[in-house]
Amino acid sequence: MITFIPRDKVSKNWIIIAPILSIVFTIFFGLLIFTFLGYNPLETLYQIFVSPFSRIDRISDILVKACPLIIIGTGLMLCFKSNVWNIGAEGQFIMGALLAGFIALSFPNIETKFFLLITILAGFVGGALWAFIPAILKTKLNVNEILVSLMLVYVAMLFIDFIVRGPLRDPMSFGFPLSKPYPEGALINKIPFPGIGFLGQLHYGILFVFLLVPFSWIFVNKTLSGFKINVLGSAPQAAKFAGFKQNSITITVLLLSGGLAGVAGVIEVSANIGQLQPEVSFGYGFTAIIVAFLGRLSPIGILFAGIIIATVKLGADNAQMTMGIPKVVTGLFEGILLFFLLTGETLQKYKIKWSEGKK
């Protein structure tokens, strides 16, 4: 049996040393694996970690990829901080995108960009409603929110699949499951840079991230609601004595995180896809769980964690393009990286105790 015992005091030194050690271990094992498989190890590491920063448009690609991860991760942070385990951000993302898409497609000629405010709001509502189901089941019937939110992901996936094959299918698509293209007013444009033009796919949706991060920081650290969330997570008993209503906090964080996931869905589809299709998410909702923890459940941390994950994903693509390294190999490396980062994080806070397990 292995038991984790919380350390009385977290050493300040280890807060700095642990991540460095994690990276050293990752690089060591990376070198080992790449050498063993016959790839130039240093070039591989360069492709994965450095090449995504080697051109300005590649950096913009990182931001585009990180954008939904950071938005969803920030919402999940609120849940996880208060010990509410929302695993269904993927489904909330889809339902947000779907409701916004439905509204966008209902006004096929709209051109004003103010319409985006409505679609984004719709996205928030769509995601929040989807998260409301586990919230209400948890608070009224004490149903486990992990299971409910997770299973609703699959419901959402099948639902959008049904919608784009049936009701919202473009009649001109030869039976292929695609909706009509969004009207101009529902599209998020790419950002033009004077003298350069567009940088990859960099779009105005990124601005939302730059608003969200400071806002959520203030919310978590400077408001009473944020305080309640923190207390509920770290000391549920204390929260009870203080008279904080656990149920209302649970519902609030689920609605907020579902809503944010929904907004991420709207931004992703409006900026990068421009129509509804059977798949709109590609696992962002699940990856964001890792992002939230990698960012130590803090808004700034999540910003960086989102960028790290996006970088490694892009680097993996680059490694394949330039060196022909299969995705399975870079995926393995990604796993090693996350393993060590999270291990380092855990060992900072907990001691491991080996003991004879009772059967």
Partner: protein, 369 residues
């Protein structure tokens, strides 16, 4: 001072022009750079593996004259746009995007890189520098129908469809035409798996078909699961995309093999000779290259596990399609509700195939949606 500056300036200009000359001459003899985008990892069977085999043919044919870059496992969304753009930025001169969902991403990136050629597989939208390529998969299904009609004892054929889109429906109808040509009593039942690849669902669908009495199975999905179930239960079936006899040595009658190599090679050759074009096919159906058995893009594997007379009939059907003697969708065509689609003496054209939303006689049920 001014003189000095001009001298420096002219030196720099000279240096740069020399540099450019060196670079451009170095590039003159450089290999053609070719990019591929794959939906999944190739593995050892199915859709992407068939593209991988095509890519290997390209490498074998051109050797050092081409440099191939591949990106596998690219989801059909924003990632595709990014990956295709990156391939374009890295100087690939022709980029093959090998799944339907790359249609919009390919068009988007192509607009930004007017000098790079793009080949989108199975799409229906084209532009100045985006051509499309597809295979007449349905031709192989006609032969499957012939073999199934001769092999079945229960007169029940089980068909596993991926999604009810025109491409799949024309495959079912072609199968029905082949079936009808040899056996008027047999009929086809379709189960929609609603996936291109899901071994579990495909296996379940196969089990249902067998439980309902089907003894010959066909599929428009990608995994060998159906054949494996057939093998276990003494039924027969056909391989999809690549030869699957290794998975079901006793059950596979033959496989329709997607052979992308010749198409890739032809397009790359055209590019190297400056003759690449997007063809002049109508703009409303997939494939201005839409090749089948005749152009070697669809290959029929060895006929096996069947009596010699059946193999002979199958061979006749194959030869007939190759020579053009058999027109699979020649009238009179009647759908399974009794409505006449096209009278005798006429035949459906390619555009009509891409509008198919009905079953022909010999297929049970109706098209969902």
């Amino acid at each position: 001072m001014i003189k000095f500056c001009t001298r420096i300036f002219s030196l720099i200009t000279l240096g740069i022009s020399v540099l450019f000359f060196v670079i451009s001459s170095a590039f003159a003899g450089s290999p053609t750079k070719v990019g591929f985008v794959y939906l999944t990892t190739p593995g050892d069977h199915g859709w992407t593996y068939a593209h991988e085999l095509g890519k290997q043919m390209v490498e074998k044919r051109f050797g050092k004259d081409v440099k191939v870059s591949v990106v596998e496992n690219v989801p059909e969304g924003p990632d595709a746009t990014r990956v295709i753009r990156e391939l374009a930025k890295q100087g690939n001169e022709i980029i093959f995007t090998t799944s339907f969902g790359y249609m919009e991403p390919t068009l988007k990136v192509a607009k930004e890189f007017p000098n790079i050629k793009f080949e989108h597989i199975t799409g229906y939208k084209r532009s100045k520098n985006v051509a499309t390529g597809n295979i007449r998969f349905y031709e192989g299904r006609y032969i499957q129908g012939v073999v199934a009609g001769l092999m079945t004892k229960t007169n029940k054929i089980g068909y596993i469809g991926a999604y009810p889109i025109a491409e799949v429906i024309m495959g079912i109808n072609a199968f029905a035409q082949g079936l009808k040509s040899v056996n008027k009593d047999a009929s086809i039942s379709v189960i929609w798996a609603n996936t291109w690849y899901d071994p579990v669902k495909e296996a379940d669908a196969a089990k249902v078909h067998i439980a309902e009495g089907a003894d010959v199975l066909a599929q428009h999905t990608d995994s060998p699961a159906m054949l494996q179930i057939a093998e276990k239960n003494g039924a027969m079936g056909f391989g999809q995309s690549t030869d699957m006899s290794a998975f079901a040595p006793k059950a596979q009658l033959f496989a329709s093999i997607n052979n992308w190599g010749p198409y890739y090679i032809k397009k790359i050759e055209e590019l190297r000779n400056g003759k690449w074009n997007t063809g002049d096919g109508p703009n409303h159906w997939p494939g201005n290259v839409w090749g089948g058995i005749k152009s070697d893009m669809l290959v029929i594997s060895k006929f096996q596990n069947m009596p010699a007379n059946v193999a002979q009939k199958a061979q006749e059907a194959l030869d007939g399609i190759k020579s053009g003697k058999i027109n699979i969708f020649a009238g009179p065509l009647i759908d399974n509700t009794g409505k006449e689609i096209i009278p005798a003496g006429k035949a459906l054209d390619d555009g009509a195939l891409w509008g198919m939303n009905y079953y022909l006689q010999g297929v049970n049920g109706k098209v969902p949606g």
